[in-house]
Symmetry: C2
Subunit: 392 residues, 2 copies
């Protein structure tokens, strides 16, 4: 079915249970869908933009209050929307990192963390992962000392993912931030898998910046997200323009440099706002999400030869699994090769796993009902049994 | 009416004729609206993202072809989507401008041009506007020489708006680019009021970069836009990452640094794509848009005391008008003060002009039918007559 001449109608979550690691937290709420339909036109939210002409001052729709509410919800002083978390990284790196400056990044970080430093011509030094795939305060302390020895200065910035995208493991942000602050290093908390998914409080964690993703975890259209910070750092990362035209003397009011004035002028910010009440509510029920996740994880664990590569027990619904010793054995001789698994899942109405993957792969159960989790668990067991694998 | 608990349903273009200078080119086509409804969820277009894992390689929806088509349509070698034109400016400035470097900007440029240089800690030098509000090749040549004298080097980059946002005047991009290239200065063409509105061909204009806005002029949701360039400049502005983790040896494939990997992962790119056939078609009928614009402009000119501040005859549908000698005289004594005009227009179903403005203001007739243009023209005349102004 087409939605217009050149584009198919997308029917993924309408027809299937979706396990896609990056998609499940960004599916729109009904409210966001309705709001997008009303506010889809280009610069829609600018209808009532008045002095000082900034997105975060618009009162209808209530974007001004929304910015305040999000900051408070995150335990931070101020927040701004950004067109994707990566643009939040860019904004922070652009404020603190100059050519040749060292920056510490947890070795499990998303590539956009690295690229945001590359943009500034900074130099990344990694905090290693432990044997069990965690970034620790102890390793952070060691690496800060390494940087001081190598560069004669402390790192200008430190990036830490609360929950990383590779394993969905949870890292000791509080301990890491404490160490970093002993050296006065600002800490950027990457919350793309946590903000909108579980409760996050920057004040309790002791971080300087929180970056969250709207399209990954706040039930909003892409590209969207938040950059929140403390009162102390706000003047730096949200600094206003000092630019002046040399001939005209033109000045540009209180436009913020890092965000280039305004960020999300239409559908994505209205989507974020429309979903916000449900997002605020859902983070308080993350235990239920974990319980559903456990149903699927335990089913997979019971298939002989399957290993859960993520920390166990699970603290997040994103899980990395190794089925080299189970489903991949079937793939060796199956006429569909590695595609037998995605094909079998597809027939059962389950989607979101990379087709052909039978060795190491990831899934995310976020947003499922218990019944759906049980269905997915049963589906994996049935596929395993049908193909002669042993269930323990 | 609410579209959800915390947001009013927006009914602007559904109920009124909209003259908003920045909104009219960004209203969605029916196709974009339908596509957004199908593709609104967060990372929707990533369903079929396969190696090398880049937005511009995705084949379903046909984003790969779309990138090629847009580049060709603009007479450029390559194109990428960006979350708003300002992010295109940022990407180009980030490639060519370092701390203390001089950059030339036409004095009528949008503030985001200036801020994109400020982000790089570059120094803006303006090309003055002439008495009739144009940026010329001659002034460009003079200012390049000024910069060489002041900095001992040529400007690293030159920004020129084809049609500026202040007057909607058209500037001699071809002549300016020719002068700049005599000094090997790369030229950034700001096409936010032209790309998607009238035919634009970068090869004919001789520019190095074209930046266009999806939400301003391509009937797409915000934040969206394009950065297109020549084969020669593509390796610079679309350079791929060289980053490598110092401990892990992690590399990041062919992710592009300037765009931080991917840009528009959902609704906005599908909106751009869905509208593209109609956008390609509509630019070929810009003469009809100008004819409609003329109907309104002539009506305003016939009201004694009214001056068209934009170049005349008009070459664009965005027009700046001075009614200090007409409508503002009424405002002096009217019980609604300056709001009498927007109020009277509102009663006639016309919106988009800043409420209270009766001195200098802008309007944009883009997208109107002839009948609507005649209606708007008559409305202004009737309001003028009712309030005792003379019609010539």
């Amino acid at each position: 079915m087409k939605c217009c001449d050149n584009i198919d109608a997308r029917m993924v979550d309408e027809t299937s249970i979706n396990l896609d690691p990056i998609q499940v937290g960004g599916r729109l709420t009904l409210e966001a869908m309705k709001a997008m339909i009303c506010w889809g036109d280009g610069y829609s939210v600018c209808d009532n933009c008045r002095k000082p002409f900034r997105l975060d001052y618009i009162e209808n729709p209530p974007l001004k209050d929304f910015h305040v509410d999000v900051a408070e919800w995150l335990g931070m002083a101020q927040a701004r929307t950004v067109p994707g978390a990566r643009r939040g990284f860019q904004q922070v790196a652009g404020t603190y990192v100059e050519k040749g400056d060292p920056v510490l990044i947890g070795a499990l970080a998303h590539y956009t963390s690295y690229l945001s430093v590359e943009l500034q011509k900074g130099i990344v030094r990694e905090i290693p992962k432990t044997a069990d795939n965690h970034i620790t305060a102890e390793d952070t302390a060691n690496r800060i000392e390494d940087v001081v020895r190598e560069f004669g200065t402390t790192p200008k910035l430190l990036y830490i993912d609360h929950v990383d995208y590779q394993f969905g493991n949870m890292h000791d942000v509080k301990g890491i931030a404490k160490v970093a602050h002993q050296y006065d290093i600002p800490v950027l908390y990457n919350g793309v898998y946590t903000v909108g998914i579980m409760p996050v409080n920057g004040r309790e964690l002791g971080v300087d910046f929180i970056v969250g993703s709207g399209h990954k975890s706040m039930a909003a259209p892409a590209p969207s997200g938040f950059l929140a910070t403390t009162e102390e750092r706000a003047d730096e990362v949200f600094r206003t323009t000092q630019m002046e035209g040399d001939l005209t003397g033109r000045k540009f009011g209180i436009k913020e440099v890092g965000i280039l004035g305004c960020s999300l002028m239409g559908a994505p910010i209205v989507g974020l706002l429309a979903s916000f009440p449900k997002v605020k509510a859902r983070v308080e029920h993350f235990d239920e999400e974990l319980a559903n996740s456990k149903i699927v994880v335990e089913a997979l664990r019971s298939i002989e030869g399957t290993k859960i590569l993520s920390e166990y027990p699970r603290k997040h619904t994103l899980t990395r699994v190794d089925t080299t010793g189970s489903f991949d054995l079937i793939a060796q001789t199956h006429k569909k090769r590695g595609f037998f698994l995605s094909s079998a899942l597809g027939k059962k109405g389950i989607t979101g796993i990379i087709p052909g993957a039978t060795k190491v792969w990831k899934f995310n159960t976020y947003g499922m009902t218990r019944k759906q989790a049980e269905y997915v668990a049963d589906a994996y067991l049935e596929i395993a049994e049908t193909n002669g694998l042993t269930i323990n």
